[in-house]
């Protein structure tokens, strides 16, 4: 299958105040991938995304996004950060928020064009939130906000979608719907999601990896017990509680 690489990390190291956050991370994501990466809190998951987005500069290694630097490539990357809404009373509507995703496309000092608005409408349609268009963002439930932030990431017509702890604010009954949405999106773009919640890596994810400073990823549907233990640095029985069996390979 001919497929195009959207992100490549080669021997990426990130250090902050002489403490390593990422060590020798290698990762290649191609356009058909849907990768779920699990790892403990503080394991460097958000940092890895920020490296891909050019927000954090690695102290060593090479980062390529869509064949160019992260600063140039990130315009075609949809980013859904963790806890996007720091202020529930912020005076902005759903429509305002989604349009913010178009700012890289519209010229400075220009108004949003009909094309920008059509893209915003389509994105809202994709996440099924059109009827909340004029609602103040803070007046939505966590799961609904999450959908709006996904729409904001989608309006720039991304080739890659990065989701940071996407299920943290989604109620259990909404989880299945959420993954159905991602399943539809993966036809159009590569998706990488990171989470500390092992049970959130659902059956929809094509491949799984494990990140704790080092990345354990073999482009496979399963994580080995050794990788998981190395990442979490504790016996598997303490953490595998509730992990779908198909994710965790049985020790043989």
């Amino acid at each position: 299958m001919a497929s195009e690489e959207v992100v490549r990390l080669e021997d990426v190291w990130v250090e902050m105040d002489h403490t390593p956050i990422l060590e020798a991370v290698n990762l290649s994501v191609d356009q058909h991938d849907f990768i779920g990466i699990i790892g403990p809190n503080g394991g460097g998951k958000t940092t890895m995304f920020k490296v891909m987005l050019g927000l954090v500069r690695p102290s060593r290694g090479r980062v390529t996004v869509l064949g160019t630097t992260p600063e140039k490539g990130r315009r075609r990357v949809g980013y859904v950060p963790q806890d996007s809404l720091f202020d529930r009373d912020f005076p902005a509507s759903v429509w305002d928020v989604v349009l913010m995703g178009r700012l890289g496309r519209v010229g400075r000092l220009r108004r949003f064009s009909a094309e920008d608005k059509a893209a915003a409408w389509n994105a809202l349609e994709t996440v099924e939130m059109q009827r909340f268009k004029d609602r103040q963002i803070g007046r939505l439930s966590g799961g609904q906000q999450q959908r709006v932030f996904i729409a904001r990431a989608l309006v720039s017509d991304p080739r890659l979608l990065l989701l940071d702890e996407p299920t943290a604010s989604v109620d259990a009954p909404m989880m299945e719907e959420f993954y159905e949405l991602l399943n539809r999106l993966k036809q159009r773009m590569a998706i990488v999601l990171v989470t500390h919640d092992l049970s959130a890596v659902s059956v929809y994810v094509d491949t799984v990896g494990c990140l704790s400073r080092k990345l354990f990823y073999h482009h496979s549907k399963e994580i080995s017990r050794e990788d998981l233990e190395a990442a979490y640095q504790c016996p598997i029985e303490l953490i595998a509680h509730g992990v779908p069996h198909r994710v965790l390979r049985e020790h043989t």
Binding site: L53, G54, L55, R74, R75, V77, Y79, P81, S84, D87, D89, F90, P91, A92, S93, D96, V97, L99, M100, G101, R102, L103, G104, R105, V106, R108, L109, F112, D134, R135, Q136, R152, S156
Partner: protein, 276 residues
């Protein structure tokens, strides 16, 4: 209404209108982006410029403008690097600016007239030339905000995302702090450098409880601000009190009342939304 015949009262009302536009527009950003402390630092550092004005014999407001812009750029620069905590830096700039002002005033020959007015405001003594400066700065503020409205909205809402989507957040932040510096200059003559932080934040803080978009918040803040300034000015005239302080005290009272009203409104809406 015979007081409106006096030219100084007419000037005070025009000044009040300009002050209200500035407070409504820039105060909105100060409140939603939580830049109250930064604004306090910028406004207090203006005292250094006022002192310098007395010392070298230029208009103290011009001195204040130089100092506010310089301290805004310094604070903006410091916030971009992480070694020094931002609030520490702001506190230092705040106090150093005030200290410079005290030293400059002390070194100035003779008596410093109107010093109290710069500290606490005296909207009744605004001159025509000062009105021109205030009007010019208000125009600049309106122009810049209307050109960069959507970028400033995204900077205030989620700076990191804005940067990822291609907004030049670095220089935009400098634009915002310089706009705050210019607003400080507009406000100095009306309420003074010590009290102006209240007028910059209170109308916006009241509005925020009742609106769902940034532009409506600006509009409501401007309207509220006009009402507070005019009513405060009238009260100060009737009660023979200092105008700046009366405007601020009235604003504080209205803010307290608005918190109560907003709570009642929320409860009423919740009751209406709940079935039965």
């Amino acid at each position: 209404m015979e007081i409106l015949q006096y030219a100084y009262m007419q000037r005070a009302l025009v000044a009040g209108l300009l002050v209200s536009i500035t407070c409504g527009v820039i105060g909105t950003y100060v409140v939603v982006r939580r830049m109250v402390f930064i604004s306090g630092g910028i406004s207090h550092s203006a005292f250094g410029g006022i002192g310098l004005g007395y010392l070298v014999g230029i208009d103290p407001v011009v001195g204040a403008m130089v100092f506010t812009i310089a301290s805004a750029l310094a604070i903006g620069g410091i916030s971009k690097q992480t070694r020094l905590p931002e609030d520490t830096a702001i506190g230092i700039i705040w106090a150093v600016g005030m200290a410079l002002g005290v030293v400059f005033v002390g070194l100035s020959p003779g008596f410093a007239p109107h010093l109290f007015g710069y500290l606490f405001g005296n909207i009744l003594s605004v001159s025509s030339s000062e009105l021109m400066v205030m009007g010019g700065l208000t125009l600049v503020i309106i122009l810049v905000v209307s050109l960069l409205y959507k970028e400033l909205l995204s900077l205030s809402f989620d700076e990191e995302f804005a940067r990822v989507s291609g907004v030049p957040t670095g220089w935009l932040y400098f634009v915002l702090v310089v706009l705050i510096a210019l607003s400080v200059v507009v406000l100095i003559r009306a309420v003074g450098i010590i009290l102006l932080i209240a007028l910059l934040t209170i109308p916006a803080a009241i509005s925020r409880q009742f609106v769902s978009s940034l532009s409506r918040m600006m509009l409501l803040s401007v309207v509220l601000s006009v009402v507070l300034v005019v009513l405060g000015l009238w009260l100060s005239y009737v009660l023979d009190l200092a105008s700046g302080a009366t405007i601020i005290l009235l604003s504080g009272l209205v803010f307290a009342a608005s918190v109560g009203v907003s709570r009642l409104r929320r409860e009423w809406m919740a009751r209406r939304a709940a079935p039965g």
